[in-house]
Symmetry: C2
Subunit: 569 residues, 2 copies
Amino acid sequence: MATETSTWQHLAKAKVDAINGSIPEKWQLSSIPPIEEQQDVTGPFIRQFLSAEEVEITETDAIDIVEKTSVGIWTAEEVTTAFCHRASLAHQLTNCLHETFFDAAIEDAKQLDKYYAQHKAPIGPLHGLPVSLKDQFHVKGVETTMGYIGWINTFEGRRGTGKEKVFESEMVKELRLSGAVLYCKTSVPHSLMTGETVNNIIGYTTNPKNRNLTCGGSSGGEGALIAMKGSPAGFGTDIGGSIRIPAAFNGLYGLRPSAGRMPYEGMANSMDGQNSVLSVVGPLSHSVASLKLLVKSLLIQQPWLHDPLCNEIPWRQDQEDMMLHLISSSKLAFGILKHDGIITPHPPVQRALGMVVETLKTLGHEVIDWDPPSHKRGYDIIMNSWTYDGGTDIHNALGLSGEPMVSQISGMYGKKREEASASRISANNIAKRNYQKEYMEYWNSTAHMTATGRPVDAIIAPLAPFAAARPDRYKYYGYSNIYNTLDYTSCVVPVTNVDKQVDVVNESFQPVSEQDRDTQEDYDPEIYHGAHVAVQLVGRRLQEEKVLALSEYVGGAIAEAKETRSSHL
Amino acid sequence: MATETSTWQHLAKAKVDAINGSIPEKWQLSSIPPIEEQQDVTGPFIRQFLSAEEVEITETDAIDIVEKTSVGIWTAEEVTTAFCHRASLAHQLTNCLHETFFDAAIEDAKQLDKYYAQHKAPIGPLHGLPVSLKDQFHVKGVETTMGYIGWINTFEGRRGTGKEKVFESEMVKELRLSGAVLYCKTSVPHSLMTGETVNNIIGYTTNPKNRNLTCGGSSGGEGALIAMKGSPAGFGTDIGGSIRIPAAFNGLYGLRPSAGRMPYEGMANSMDGQNSVLSVVGPLSHSVASLKLLVKSLLIQQPWLHDPLCNEIPWRQDQEDMMLHLISSSKLAFGILKHDGIITPHPPVQRALGMVVETLKTLGHEVIDWDPPSHKRGYDIIMNSWTYDGGTDIHNALGLSGEPMVSQISGMYGKKREEASASRISANNIAKRNYQKEYMEYWNSTAHMTATGRPVDAIIAPLAPFAAARPDRYKYYGYSNIYNTLDYTSCVVPVTNVDKQVDVVNESFQPVSEQDRDTQEDYDPEIYHGAHVAVQLVGRRLQEEKVLALSEYVGGAIAEAKETRSSHL
């Protein structure tokens, strides 16, 4: 067979040609401006290639799209076509797609329109909504490479499974049943274990707001695509920040649910079977309302009947209502994590935290310093879990084609190490449980520190020490992965953008370590100018309803405060 | 220090003397009849040593005790004292206790009585109810040996932790808050990894119904104690049957909840940190109503705020109500597992299954054959998880004192083996998830086989191939541990007792394997005569409300059918 004797370069070239070639000719750009010329390709730039109708559709929030498609104002076909077009543009500008299946999507959309015409009712809560998926989801008709060349023309690296291009992940089935239209799969870094998106097939996915920076990772294609409004909403996965990082770096909302809340069944994964810290699946979008729509729509499908790791916890309207009642009727209390004791956030991140605190205090809420058990301990626990197999899985996957490892993961996986023993893994599991227990009791103890008499309602924390990172300089995951260790619900809330006039280098900075100094030195106002800055709003385990309600409130308040400030200028 | 230089025999002797010596003199029996003379020490036999009032109290079901203590009809003190007395007798007859703390219990009871006198209301839903605990729970004032000599005078084998005799497990705190009175801890096999209860401290715990047989394990002391009504209800743990086996072998109800439903935090354990198949904690008692009382009372305490592995799933009254409505208004459908393809149940177990099927059919319900994915696969998965560490943890614990391993676990742990690698553990986790998925889809598929149009409401299955096993002959755990692999909710329902006249040896038995033949050959009607026989009623994951409702119904129907039959004779 030709493929067996091909070099990895040939295979990659053929695959990337196929991906790019799948963009209909009518949507192909005649030329892509170089980065120096056009750093920001969002908004006005990408808009110029679209019709007014397409702009209107694609710049509508997911929840508002469904409102229109569910009552026949927009057809699923026109909505789908508009997003296929814009996604095609987005990909040409940032390399954000791994698979497209526009024809199948438009055909599915037509079927939904037929259904609507017949029944005068939507087929489900996502009727006609295009939804993009990270390239870990299996969707019939296309393959899943997860960025590995050795996975091309296989099912997760294996041949002859009978599942190739036929098998669908559980959530894919559930999205279809909800009326969502699937149309593309987005880029990921091979291994999924980095906050940038880069692999030997598609190359590097850039940040559409500033193409000198990363779009984040590992659900980076999702972040870039949604930021360019080539998708109204999509799903990523998160084992250390992989939903939240692209959300934060692209000015989006992104939810990391706790493990067992949303169905992961039947997805490709890296180091599958490592079950100390589970990867989770969750949505990214432009608003909390849209995140909530996706979560609720999936829970209606009772995923626990088809995913053995999914807990039977339907959407708890009473919990959302209780939180909304608290929000509207009383004072809230937040914990603020300004520094995790390891790495100092860059000036724009510090400013964003300050903005949130100020906004909350202005609204009459309480913000107390969050001084939890050592994050260093939590960090070590998750880093242990990521390296149990000493790199075996990743080396095997790369070995299938002989492709080289991207530099972003070589620090952690470059050298193949001895695998952890059962006893070492058990010890780490115990350390994790003990850490979770201590952190939980610290949270409980804040009832004695707040004026509300309740433990804090949420934590406000940086998502990363920086706004969108510079290529190959994402070295510290502690701010995001601590909540994977703890399995807490976390939602990214966009706050502001780097302003080189305001966010100047802190000349009096005193590093607490060499790594702290190196990280701070990566901050360059000129390079970062315009980049999105976000925070995380963190709740306890399995508190998705509460965290979404609070994120909507806090995000709204920040946006309002910004508007008020600018109207005063 | 004296202890350092003592032999393990001296340490064990001192400990057993302390345990036996903790029984107040007034409650010590002047002589214990030998087994040959008095096989069955339950009911009339043990009753002779008690006052009429004590008999009345101790033969009252847990839920009825609480009804009396909660309105001041009985004092917590008189109830507690009666159970302390009867537990003392039970221990002398079967070796079922590891720790007693009667004085502390009676003092706690007095405080509850004071509370009641002041408030004219119970302190919580378990006000004044004595509850026994397997010797994995840490309770202040006494130690936890878990049957290991090397744990005597330590905290889980370690010295100087500051936790010795002070630290309490999370559930212990929650039981106290609910008003339960803790008074004793019950015997376990060292390692917890066998269906018999034997260790080098307390020796062998016998089955009170027939002291030639085992009381089961690993929560064997619980089973024996509750069977003798030395406790109205208690808690055990289950990683392969350890709640259900003692429940079945002692004619009790016992619930194995799914992992994450009840709080395990802060308990001693064997091979702690192995998280492929988690041990779970659950109740044993004389009725489903009492099991339900215990589960509900604990969930009211919101254990998820103090146990990081506990899911926020309160008691779902709507689920119980829905099942009760189905029971009263329509036909139910059950799957019956007659043989797991590996080991043939003994004649009395087959008869018990037949009785359940007949009862259900008579009531108009449907019973279909349960023909799921290979149980052999599920069995191999859990056996792998039990031996990940190659025996390291158990050898270390035994090595603390130099005591020998009991024969019951030497097959699995006698020879120290190489530890499993991270990759091997991951592969087993994937195999487990895949197996769970297949089994789940098989269950879903039964919707097409039932007349109800629903998947079966529960599975009826043997708990073990035998009634209470003969000492040192418990060799096969597949019937119980398959539901640990699957993490299904399972409740043991007592059905009948072995009758040597009826349950004759099956002379035409055709073994499917050598192990099948050996197991069947262990059946001897003479030895087994009178032993309890039970079945399991199994629901899906986290279906405690439904499974308890169905178990109460099925258990009640069986009891009624038996009564009808005997009244016809």
